[in-house]
């Protein structure tokens, strides 16, 4: 059963609604959202509340629920 979540783009505040299979990995969610917003190649992370979601875990492992709001954040790697 798919889970409906909202993903917020931390760079511009726009939102994306996604239906996720529980077996989808968080890093695939990141990739899908980044592609949707045509983001530059780079590192990104996904958070729910005060928690960084682990890339390799699945939507089910991460405990995502319907109507969760996640945020896609660029991970700055410059020095």
């Amino acid at each position: 059963m798919e889970i409906e979540v909202t993903i917020r783009n931390a760079e511009n505040g726009s939102v994306l609604n996604m239906e996720l299979d529980p077996n989808t990995t968080i890093e695939d969610v990141i990739e899908g959202a980044a592609e949707f917003w045509h983001k530059e190649a780079g590192a990104y992370v996904l958070r729910r509340g005060k928690k960084l979601l682990k890339g390799q875990s699945t939507v089910a492992d991460a405990g995502l629920k319907n109507e969760d709001v996640l945020e896609l954040i660029p991970d700055p790697e410059g020095g």
Partner: protein, 235 residues
């Protein structure tokens, strides 16, 4: 203060962040600093690097040498050692370090420093910037490391250098140039976290990551978990 004066810090990266971080460390009273960087000064560095000059860029001076030279003028009592090399090519006495600072411009080098620090039990404070955004991560013995918090998007750009210096290597030019105000902010927080560790106040450190967005006036601290599959946490 004695623990800070008596400490030996490793700083890897002598770019914009490294300049600021070494400055902050010497002015905070750190007694010994080893600075590792393989690069030379470029004209494009000069808008955000305290210790670099036009003459340094024209003379292709080593970044580590110039930062040490400038910092020594600020704090003559600090023992400063420049190492002009890549981290993975130099044999360092890790048992002498109390703390490591990552001031790097690419994920691959960060992973090297993360791995060495974990292996040798040296706390690690990493900072990164991109335009008006910054990130800080504090890696302590009982917590997740950098590799635990990375995902596929990091590995896709593993070897890209996220700076706009130099023309003699392949590099990735980010959508926004580095801003010295962001660099200074992130370095200040990076060194503050380091000083907490050196003075035995690890419990007051950021757990585990901090993301900063200067344009939106937002700063958020995020918790992360140890990745059971992370090679740095295997017993």
């Amino acid at each position: 203060m004695d623990s800070i004066i008596g400490s030996h810090c490793l700083v890897v990266g002598a770019g914009a962040l490294g300049n600021e971080t070494v400055k902050n460390l010497v002015l905070s009273g750190v007694g010994r600093i080893t600075l590792v960087d393989m690069d030379h000064v470029e004209m494009s560095n000069l808008n955000r690097c305290l210790f670099f000059s036009v003459a340094d860029a024209q003379g292709r001076a080593a970044k580590a040498d110039m930062v040490v030279h400038g910092a020594a003028r600020m704090a003559p009592d600090c023992e400063l050692r420049p190492v002009v090399s890549r981290l993975e090519d130099v044999d360092l006495d890790w048992s002498s370090f109390d703390l490591a600072f990552g001031c790097l411009d690419n994920i691959k080098a960060r992973l090297h420093l993360n791995s060495y620090s974990r292996h040798h039990g040296v706390p690690y404070v990493d900072a990164g910037t991109d335009g008006s955004r910054g990130k800080l991560q504090v890696v302590l013995g009982d917590g997740p490391c950098l590799q635990c918090t990375m995902n596929k998007s990091h590995y896709q750009v593993l070897e890209r250098r996220f700076s706009c210096t130099g023309s003699d290597f392949s590099y990735y030019e980010p959508p926004m140039a580095a801003e010295v105000t962001t660099t200074a902010t992130m370095s200040s927080m990076q060194v503050k976290e380091g000083l907490k560790i050196l003075s035995g106040r690890e419990d007051d450190c950021i757990r585990h990551l901090l993301f900063y967005d200067a344009m939106r006036n937002e700063m958020q601290t995020l918790e992360a978990d140890i990745d059971p599959g992370c090679p740095n946490h295997e017993m």
